[in-house]
Symmetry: C2
Subunit: 495 residues, 2 copies
Amino acid sequence: MPQKTDHKPRARTGSGEARWGHALALDATPQAQPLYVQIAEAISADVRRGVLRPGQALPGSRSLARDLGVHRNTVLAALRELEKQGFLMTEPARGTRISEQLPVQPLAPSVRARGLADFPVPRAPSFRVMATPPGHFTLLGGVPDLRHVPTAALARAYRRALGRRANLGYGDPAGSAALRAGLATMLARTRGLALTSDDLVVTRGSQMALDLVARALLRPGDVVAVEGLGYRPAWEALRATGAQLVPVPVDEHGLQVDRLAALAERVPLRALYLTPHHQYPSTAVLGAPRRLQLIALARQHRFALIEDDYDHEFHYEGRPILPLAARAPESVAYVGTLSKVLAPGLRLGWLVAPSPLREAIIARRSVVDRQGDLVLEEALAELLDEGEVARHVLRMRGLYEQRRDFMVERLREIFGETLSFTVPRGGMALWARVRGVDVDRWAEAAASRKVLVQPGRLFSFDRRARPFLRLGYGAHDETELARAIALLNQARHSL
Amino acid sequence: MPQKTDHKPRARTGSGEARWGHALALDATPQAQPLYVQIAEAISADVRRGVLRPGQALPGSRSLARDLGVHRNTVLAALRELEKQGFLMTEPARGTRISEQLPVQPLAPSVRARGLADFPVPRAPSFRVMATPPGHFTLLGGVPDLRHVPTAALARAYRRALGRRANLGYGDPAGSAALRAGLATMLARTRGLALTSDDLVVTRGSQMALDLVARALLRPGDVVAVEGLGYRPAWEALRATGAQLVPVPVDEHGLQVDRLAALAERVPLRALYLTPHHQYPSTAVLGAPRRLQLIALARQHRFALIEDDYDHEFHYEGRPILPLAARAPESVAYVGTLSKVLAPGLRLGWLVAPSPLREAIIARRSVVDRQGDLVLEEALAELLDEGEVARHVLRMRGLYEQRRDFMVERLREIFGETLSFTVPRGGMALWARVRGVDVDRWAEAAASRKVLVQPGRLFSFDRRARPFLRLGYGAHDETELARAIALLNQARHSL
């Protein structure tokens, strides 16, 4: 057993003092930890480095205090701290020593730490969402005009929901009962869905709905058909389960269901993911013949339809088409969102699915994030109940339709035959075929002029270039759209 | 080609009128869809059922209107709707007919619909979070007293964040820069973590942090060690990746690291999930010797440490022990939450992990729910910056410590040797060994008296009974605790 005088801790040697003094100087800012903590840390660091060894005696608190230039109480506090953490042991007869229960030589200083940074981490999905840089024109389809969001009404409803304190604790992973009831009423009125609040799960935007359906339904090796031009974040969610995705072509009438039928004959399909209302990105509306054929196919081959109805409200030519879920609820997992209706940042979506899939989804959801933000959900339920959401939709539908018409007219005027497109019957974007210009270079040149547009490549399953531009008209008023289109024209002429 | 008079649609026959009349009667409530929609739906339903066939002519709008007892304009609107949906085609010379592009006999009425309800859905996790029923005493560890949450300050900050409209759109999946900066400062001051805001990912509570780490790090077949008494929702997140969990025993000093060392010799461990600060559920503090041994083991065998530090702030005996992440950041994925600090319902947690694991986690997060609620995150950043959170922690730490002392005294007084426990050094619950009473029956009898307590079985890896009760003291004041303990005593005597 080493004697007290034989094994002076480093703190009492010249170099030890220097090192400690350095550590104290380092942390002398107002934000620094208390002195006693810094001393305790320095001692424990020396233990970890093997400078102080198990069983080794510490000098007395008075001499330590003198060496360090601090009050003795500070040293005593540091020693108590270290004792509590198990670094020190104090026995009346033997004074204070480094604990003998520490592992001997826990770390030789020469051993290079090998940690998570060296781990073979599985490849991350290639998709990462980024925010729009400020000061840009965002002609990105699907970004609503956030200047019109009724923030004052929402803030009031949020304050009331928060003040009730009823939703500050743990709650139902299926979502707030009030919001589910409000959404069920809205979906029944606007989409012909026959459902009660128990058929709904509230999610963090449509993305979580897609992720949950994927995780509940799919297993590695399952085959899932998707639109050959489509929504990559959904593909990533499906793919993350180990499912194999197979693209099916789309044309100006949406998904080519004949091609799907041929595929279903060849391979056992587990599911089809699609956007039948306003096909993403082409905005094509899937007509009744294809819809009926699709439902019959799904029943015959027993695959699930994952229907993403992301902007149902914004349909300008007559009434929106009823979802597949209204015609074949037993075959469909129906996904919707308030991202376009109100704002993407609220992250409020939903999922309608038949039991037991719905039960499996709720159970899985409790593992993903336990539950939603029930305070926000109650606030949104209030806005739904009061008709605030319906009024906002009406207002914005009118605005977006005007912007669509303006955009169509101006694009035809300025770009003539360079852009050809069908006037979209709904949504916040149009899908234009580009002639005689390299779309990828055009999109880049536009971005350098702070106009963001999406070339066809972003939506193609194989990531190859496609001679299309997706041009959103939701986020800007007509003056801004005119300016953005002028810049887009400049960008074209710069090539 | 059928002639108009040869194939009268069902609507003109007596039974057709009766059926349609029925459908209209069904939907005559004020919430009903417009009449024209109901008519269109009835016709399209007959097409789907095969009652009306492709190519078949429809009666004229006047006779339909007369038969249905509605204005002719209503019928015309219905026909326009059906035409738009592709069900009808109108040619000047031939009148209105059912579209010939519809699939012939889309559904024989005798074919029973087979849908998602019949699908073999993979088994859902057995864990499902439920809300606490109202009017109960919740002696559940980890539920804070929500009556003290600074809701007014939060509502104000939320209103300001919402009013700025800066976070209503798409944003950074790693979380608000302001909140990440605020949390980084807090973690550096209170936990000795050396980090910047770029080292943090903001998550929906600790559950999402655990789920994301699991999904980024684990692959099917990976072996993950967990505490043999522990936190089931974390296990479910780990297990959902296909990883195999192996329990390691815990004792009154926390995880038995020697047992872990023996395990690591036998099987290649990919990770260890643990709660070293206040072991869940036993509240044991993992001491320095075991911590150092653990870090050395993790480095030697190259497994990751997933450190769940769920209630770091509420430590009553001296300073909290520094996390493993402060000692070996390269080996640790560090998980924390504001659930105990403020309220579980806010779903605000974080994750600190070395790159590239952190990058993989952010990419995966964008697939799970795209991004967090950046408005709420900005509001919480404001509360952190203003010191509101720190003041709240100080206040609640004092309260919880008093409640702990009250609980300890009262339990000893009332239950004597029936309950034996170490006074917890932190947290919001104590872990008591029960002698001479069946804990499961006791917990049931208490629940029937509206006192919720958790028996050992809920925390054991094998779900077998354990002679322990976890008794939370965070959610109630001393008067309420006294009442709950009296009811718990009644429940014991009722057995």
